[in-house]
């Protein structure tokens, strides 16, 4: 058993190379298997038996689906944010953002001081 101890960059590069090599080997195998058996029969999109015209009807966009999911599962956080930030008053948005950014700045200063103290 060999343990190669290196830096993370070298490890990433070597492992990415290994991944590409493996992918090429697998692709060659897959290509040789499927080449003869691609069928063009029934090449229409499967939409539960409907024709493609149905897609011209209004459907929610992918982005709306994603945000819909996020809003539903993070409803409380979303509501709080909406009530605080979307009041239409610029000053309220500004004060909200400056409080949070100020807090993050404070946290980063504490983290830097702690790091310097520990080392």
């Amino acid at each position: 058993m060999t343990t190669v101890i290196s830096d993370p960059f070298t490890a990433t590069l070597v492992m990415t190379g290994a991944m590409v090599l493996l992918a090429v080997v697998m692709y060659i195998i897959v290509l040789s298997i499927r080449r003869a058996r691609v069928t063009q029969l029934g090449n229409e999109m499967y939409i539960g038996g409907e024709s493609e015209d149905i897609l011209s009807l209004k459907v929610p966009s992918v982005l709306a689906l994603y945000w819909g999911i996020v809003k539903r599962s993070w409803k409380k956080a979303f509501d709080i944010l909406r009530d605080v930030v979307h009041t239409g008053i610029l000053n309220e948005w500004y004060s909200y953002m400056s409080i949070w950014l100020g807090l993050l700045l404070l946290l980063s200063i504490i983290a830097i001081v702690t790091y310097m103290y520990m080392h």
């Binding site: 058993m1 343990t3 070597v14 090599l21 493996l22 992918a23 897959v30 029934g42 090449n43």
Partner: protein
């Protein structure tokens, strides 16, 4: 570095051939155990107690079934995406102690996440988008919504043993290798490290269930509801590759839980009987827990699923990380 050993590791052991065999066995065990828990037979006819059924399914899809070319599809792209998602998981095995050639470096947990979370997901997204379809797109949007919550959970859960092992003086610091070889000691190191490891184990079990798309988190696939979700249009070789990718991810996830939280073969090594038996026992235990969760629940709705992952996955992992930090900073 021994290039021949590296190639052997990625192609034979623990690479493609070994992980494929393990993946097919794991799929059989999952199906059989889940069936018995639900008073069904499960795979029974192909091989002794149906053990080679997943292999037979794979061979049939690869060699007998045709690939359906849809009007807007890109078969080559789908294949490349699926192959990338498989190879990224296989390559991640090089960071575990099971590999004859092991990569270990400081902060290689980030390298691990880069392959296991980022490349795997990118490969899957490429593959899914290569067969455009309303069901596919709905499945993909659910998959992405779940990924947004699951990947941070996995990362935080994995950070717990790496942080604790580094604190105990294991080098290289913050490496998967270090966490794997030392994780069995972390349980009994101190009360806070025990709490941190227990919370980490719970959260990674929940997150793995969601990452694997097993019930109750099979929301992107959503059989019946979305036909087959993000794999609606797959057939033949493509379906074989997708199934293989899923099984390999299952086997790899169980291996990760076995090594990083249950201690792998340690305190024995890989090269003695006691160590190998212990490793197999822990692997089967983690797979059984995943199966028991899969067999006990029905599918959640997407928002319920996300809430459950946040409540029982993300929150325990953050609590576990805080316990680990307390252990590192105060004790």
């Amino acid at each position: 570095m021994d290039v021949a050993l590296l190639i052997l590791s990625i192609l034979i052991f623990p690479g493609l051939m070994f992980i494929t065999s393990l993946a097919l066995f794991s799929e059989w065990l999952l199906r059989k155990l889940a069936a018995r828990m639900q008073n069904r037979m499960g795979p029974s006819y192909t091989g002794p107690i149906g053990i080679i059924q997943p292999f037979a399914d794979l061979i049939k899809l690869l060699f007998a079934k045709e690939v359906k070319k849809q009007r807007y599809s890109a078969i080559g792209m789908a294949e490349i995406g699926l192959i990338l998602s498989i190879s990224s998981v296989v390559v991640s095995l090089l960071l575990l102690p099971i590999s004859p050639i092991r990569f270990a470096s400081t902060y290689d947990i980030i390298v691990f996440i880069y392959f296991y979370a980022v490349w795997h997901t990118i490969g899957l997204i490429i593959a899914v988008l290569s067969y455009p379809n309303p069901f596919t797109v709905a499945g993909l949007s659910r998959l992405i919504a779940i990924t947004v919550v699951v990947e941070p959970t996995v990362f935080i859960a994995l950070l717990i043993p790496t942080l604790l092992a580094s604190n105990m003086g294991c080098t290289p610091q913050y490496s998967i290798f270090c966490a794997s070889t030392w994780s069995w000691r972390l349980w009994l190191e101190s009360p806070t490290s025990f709490i941190a490891m227990a919370l980490g184990l719970v959260s990674i079990l929940i997150a793995s269930q969601a990452k694997l798309g097993l019930k109750p988190f099979d929301i992107p696939e959503a059989e019946q509801e979305l036909i087959a979700g993000h794999i609606t249009e797959y057939s033949g070789t493509l379906l074989a590759l997708y199934n293989l990718s899923h099984d390999i991810k299952l086997a790899f996830t169980a291996l990760i839980i076995t090594y990083l939280f249950l201690g792998g073969p340690y305190p024995y090594g890989h090269l003695n009987i006691a160590g190998i038996l212990l490793l197999i026992l822990k692997y089967l235990a983690s797979l059984t827990v995943l199966t028991a969760i899969r067999a006990s629940f029905g599918r959640f709705r997407i928002d319920q699923g996300l809430n459950i992952i946040m409540k029982y996955g993300l929150a325990p992992s953050i609590a576990g990380l805080i316990a680990a930090l307390i252990d590192v900073l105060l004790l």
